[in-house]
Symmetry: C2
DNA sequence: AGTCTATACGGAGACATTCTCCGCTTAGTT
DNA sequence: AACTAAGCGGAGAATGTCTCCGTATAGACT
């Protein structure tokens, strides 16, 4: 679960830094507890039974009534995004750790590989989230910004070290990696090789071996 | 719709060349007609209302009863794959035309762009198909082989012309392109640029301008 | 053409899932 | 301790999925 932060939305989610939402009342303790439980339960059920799993099962696993589930997450989509968002906060935190502990190229590639892994272990989940995108726009924007921030902190050193060429933008890299990850869900072993192709395409000039 | 071929399966689909299935009885004329109608109707409905659209609506649009729909396509997945397969047959035919009418590099990139377009105009559809993959394995294998064959006919000349480096395998290229396409569904304008990055990663050695 | 039979059709209805509504409970405040 | 706004839960309506089986017809055979 996400840590308790200073600025949070009504859903008790950290507000993307730099964005100031009108401050809403904090949730009641039981509501916040249930919100957390639902995210946890939903993640488990989605991983076990895919993103189509019956929502009532999730309510049961979280030990709340269906009404409560639908109050917190009015649609299946919002629940998927809720889980996704929570996951990305973890992934983002890992980026910062890698940036501190590894040299630029290794840190970058390691993080991109983490994302491959993430998608791989949640078959169909990322595809489902991707298919939403349009709806749930604000939450997805938050996710994008989060990932973008993390990647930039890895990408800048990599550029400085001559691993990645200068013009490359973070959102493009994210999309490339997510694309590879989704395309390789069903052939996980090939992911690394494809990722190498992609990284090759982002290197400055000479580079690469055949 | 797919053309009428010599070797067909019970579903009236061309058998992948080189693969010999036990020849099954041909379908009755009305059954074949309904099969075709269902594919057409399903494509329209899926494009209009997404891959979650009610199946009964599709039956209605095809002017058949729900029973008939479920006889031809026992699950939503099988219907999605049916449409997908039919689409890919078109896409595959286009590859051959491009190979004849354009120089290697242009033919290859043009076809890859066609795929970008295909995915873009069917939001969520490709993601849904991808999420299936595991189930519906035989049909998906047919699709893979079809696309693989088409791409090889474009890739070999491109390799010979020094556009693509030697070790690159067709399935990898397909996955990369599908990945990019899915990742860019919601940002179609960026697709071309990302595709260029990917192609850059597949070029021989010196190449590319910054 | 007429007859026969395997194949396919269609839709009523059983079943499953989604989602809402509203009376009851409780956290947090005074 | 009492009050009130926020939140809970589950019954049940609405929607969608999928099956079963009586009816219709394509195609074969005469």
């Amino acid at each position: 679960m996400a840590r308790e932060g200073a600025a949070v939305t009504a859903d008790n989610r950290p507000v993307p830094s730099g964005v100031s939402l009108p401050v809403e009342k904090p949730m009641r303790a039981d509501a916040r507890r249930n919100h957390g439980r639902l995210i946890v339960a939903a993640r488990e059920v989605f991983i076990e039974h895919g993103p189509e799993a019956p929502l009532d099962d999730i309510a049961k696993r979280a030990a709340v009534g269906p009404g409560t589930l639908y109050r917190h997450f009015p649609t299946r989509e919002s629940l998927l995004v809720g889980v996704y968002q929570d996951d990305l906060e973890t992934l983002s935190a890992q980026a910062d750790k890698l940036a501190e502990s590894l040299p630029p190229e290794e840190a970058l590639t390691a993080w991109l590989r983490l994302q491959l892994d993430y998608v791989k272990h949640r078959r169909g989940f990322s595809a489902a989230v991707k298919a939403i995108m349009g709806l749930e726009a604000p939450a997805m924007n938050y996710c994008r910004n989060l990932m973008r921030g993390s990647l930039i902190r890895l990408l800048e050193p990599a550029k400085a070290a001559g691993v990645i060429r200068a013009g490359v933008e973070a959102p493009d890299v994210l999309r490339l990696v997510h694309g590879v990850a989704m395309a390789c869900e069903s052939a996980p072993d090939d992911g690394e090789r494809l990722l190498d192709y992609v990284i090759d395409g982002l290197r400055p000039r000479p580079a690469a071996t055949d």
